[in-house]
Symmetry: C2
Subunit: 79 residues, 2 copies
Amino acid sequence: MGRNVKIKAARGALDMTQKALAEAVGISRQTMNAIEQGDYNPTIKLCRAICKVLGKSLDELFGEEENEHEKQESGKYAG
Amino acid sequence: MGRNVKIKAARGALDMTQKALAEAVGISRQTMNAIEQGDYNPTIKLCRAICKVLGKSLDELFGEEENEHEKQESGKYAG
DNA sequence: AAAATATGTCACATATACTTGACTTATATT
DNA sequence: AATATAAGTCAAGTATATGTGACATATTTT
């Protein structure tokens, strides 16, 4: 999928650890890590919760996939 | 969850049926219907695909849950 | 350099997003 | 008023998001 660098940056700006963010959002640390790693595809409700904690919009954190070195998407919903 | 009136409106503006939108996005008609009905919580990837087809941003279509007559959320990720 | 904390990853379990097929109720169209 | 298309819903199946525990590797702190 493509690592989510924006979450990591926003989290860093608030000096929060993955664990702290995960707790604030109400999910497990591993899930938070997997999302930053791009290992999966969170639900919109979870994305909204992350945005709220980090004080960012959906577009800022989850808009337009990083297509810098695009790694052959398993493309279920065609782009 | 709360019906997504915005998708319905954007779809209507393009004179698309649920079936047509579902096909354009690459999901089943029933899933599209369930999302508009607020019967579940799509993944961000699917949301992006819907946005792309409808020419709207995540914030426009999926930002901030409708809290007009808020029906006691099952609140997994606290709001 | 040892101890502590943060991050990455794996395997297995559970909840739920999404599919498919079928049926019903609206809303056109003729 | 009959026929067609659109929309809503249900049950049963499959795929995957998320949880939990455990362990490995970075990175920071002492």
